[in-house]
């Protein structure tokens, strides 16, 4: 039943409880390898781990004849949480030694935090003012979740029905499973209350940025980068509720922060965070696999010996195993978005012209819509000192370059595909980019080690 005239409050509260319990389970699971991180970072890692735990519990329950509900999901999460607590026994939370902020710094932090909070509030209200209505939500992310919720299974027709040719059968399923799990917890499909997932993911993203930079750079840098990310209206807007981009931005921020820590020397905790970030990113969007592979290249270039091997494996293996699991679930799927025959030798000559056309469109968008912000970024990079995250800077243009290649082999008119999707997918990179920018003003002066206890 769709909610068109139901009072929002009770359903919203129940979804909030579902997100809180999954985050609690995630906190227990991630406790061992988030010691020494700031509280805000621990919240973000717990949120991501919790969403994975919740989806795993859902799949487990769906494998049994009993229909998932709030009690069964809670019991499943409690079992996982208990296991996590037992496995992470011993040791307390690592204490962060923090240089006290000056009065001027405190004022700046308060101002920037208030700005980020205001921007987040605007997004929160906007996302929940209406039922989710994004095209991508209706056509696949929400559609698949609703089918799972209403049928109580993951029906094979989602992957085999020719009539669902538009529903991107090859896409990862974490967003759909999360929406379904929240609906099972809620007891009905209220696509307005379920939209709480998006402000929740946005909050976790902002906390991850500010917490990471507060630990590794300075509290002002953390507050500034979080405020900057929160103002990214092209990403944090109501029309993106229901799509994968907002949770995906969280995945990219977590993967980037773990990779930056890994650059300073891997520990078991950092490796575990790379594993989680890889799995989380790959489960949200196909581009997540690309991003973690690019991070693996960066780590391969900057690390040596065992640290290089372990860190790269921690990024590459989970994303690859996720792809294999998805393959087993849905079988081989054609990618209707892409015409891979363009990679065959007989069509190679077509590629340069298509690529030039796509890059031309990118440049046109950059010149007409983003010239000022791009210039601002260039100036900022020129006048600031090298930062702890600079090694990650090439990842962002590389990701966009791969988008250009992907658009070049589009099955449809590449211009149509670019105009429909490029801005949205490019802007999902922005919070992670803000993290890298925020790491630039100062060199690491903190005592807290990246591996953290």
């Amino acid at each position: 039943m769709d909610a068109v005239s139901r009072v929002l409050g009770p359903d919203l509260l129940r979804v909030a409880v579902a997100l809180a319990t999954s985050t609690g389970a995630g906190a227990c699971v991630s406790r061992k390898w988030t010691r020494g991180l700031s509280r805000r970072e621990r919240f973000a890692w717990s949120a991501a781990a919790g969403l994975l735990v919740q989806a795993a519990v859902l799949l487990l329950l769906l494998a049994f004849p009993a229909r998932p509900d709030a009690v069964r999901i809670l019991l499943g999460e409690a079992a996982v949480a208990l296991t996590g607590l037992v496995l992470s026994r011993g040791g307390g939370a690592g204490a962060l030694s923090r240089r006290p902020a000056s009065a001027r710094e405190k004022a700046a932090i308060v101002l920037l935090a208030a700005l980020a909070a205001a921007a987040w509030l605007v997004f929160f209200v906007g996302a929940l003012a209406d039922g989710m209505y994004a095209t991508d939500y209706l056509a696949f992310w929400g559609y698949k979740g609703k089918i799972v919720f209403l049928t109580g299974e993951v029906p094979l027709r989602l992957f085999r029905d020719p009539a669902l040719y538009f529903a991107h059968r090859e896409y990862p399923l974490l967003v759909s499973f999360t929406l379904a799990a929240l609906a099972f917890f809620l007891g009905n499909w209220n696509d307005q209350a379920l939209a709480l997932l998006y402000p929740f993911a946005a909050l976790a993203t902002l906390l991850a940025i500010s917490g990471f930079l507060a630990r590794r750079v300075s509290r002002v840098a953390g507050a500034g980068a979080a405020a900057l990310a929160s103002l990214c209206v092209f990403l944090y807007r109501p029309a993106n509720a229901g799509t994968a981009e907002i949770p995906f931005a969280l995945g990219l921020v977590l993967a980037s922060s773990a990779a930056i820590d890994a650059l300073e020397g891997g520990t078991a905790s950092v490796t575990a965070r790379l594993v989680l970030a890889s799995l989380f990113g790959a489960s949200l969007k196909q581009e997540g696999t690309l991003f973690v592979f690019l991070l693996a290249v960066v780590l391969a270039l900057h690390l040596r010996g065992r640290a290089r091997l372990v860190s790269c494996a921690a990024l590459v293996l989970p994303a690859s195993l996720h792809w294999i699991a998805l393959y087993l679930l849905r079988g081989n799927q054609t990618r209707r978005d892409f015409d891979f025959t363009l990679f065959e030798p007989r069509r190679w000559l077509e590629l340069p012209a298509l690529f030039a056309q796509v890059v031309g469109r990118f440049l046109s968008i950059g010149a007409h819509e983003a010239l000022l912000p791009l210039l601002a970024v260039a100036v900022y990079l020129l006048v600031t000192r090298r930062g702890i995250a600079d090694a990650l800077l090439p990842v962002f243009p590389a990701q966009v370059l791969f988008y250009a290649v992907a658009f070049s082999v589009s099955s449809f008119d590449p211009m149509y595909a670019i105009d429909g999707a490029f801005r949205r997918i490019a802007m999902s990179l922005f919070p992670a980019f803000a993290l890298v920018l925020g790491a630039r003003p100062a060199s690491p002066t903190r005592a807290a080690s990246p591996g953290s206890i």
């Binding site: 005239s5 929002l8 209706l138 056509a139 559609y143 900057l228 092209f234 601002a376």
Partner: protein
């Protein structure tokens, strides 16, 4: 020099922030705050699917009627306008878990529902809100 660099860095971040926030639609945001308040307070005039059917507000009632009249196990062919493609996606989404198909798979359908299309002007069927319905 150091102070000038800091000032330039700060200025570039302000420019970046202003550019990022510039697409914000103030009137639209104010309207969303009002709709959110209406949703939370249980205002009877509020409908959460209003934005979903911006392209055709009457289409929601048609899909609701098709849903009421068809079993969940049915395969429903929906013959709806081709543009915008939201007609199709809304039908798939709103009629779930029914299997919804387009005209080219009409032979597999237990029920055919038409809305504002030429095909819907054929004989037979029953009149429903905004269209016609044929049951096989």
């Amino acid at each position: 020099m150091e102070r000038a660099k800091r000032a330039l860095a700060g200025l570039s971040l302000v420019v970046l922030a202003v550019s990022l926030v510039s697409p914000l639609d103030r009137d639209g945001t104010a309207a969303r705050f009002r709709r959110f308040a209406a949703a939370v307070s249980g205002d009877p005039a509020y409908r959460s699917d209003r934005m979903s059917f911006w392209f055709d507000p009457d289409y929601a009632a048609f899909l609701d009627d098709v849903r009421r009249r068809t079993p969940e196990s049915a395969t429903v062919a929906v013959l709806v306008p081709r543009r915008p493609d939201l007609y199709k996606y809304q039908a798939y989404y709103r009629l779930a878990p029914r299997r919804v198909v387009e005209e080219r798979w009409i032979g597999e359908a237990d029920v055919v529902a038409t809305y504002h299309t030429e095909t819907g002007r054929g004989p037979g069927g029953i009149e429903i809100i905004g269209g016609r319905l044929w049951t096989r």
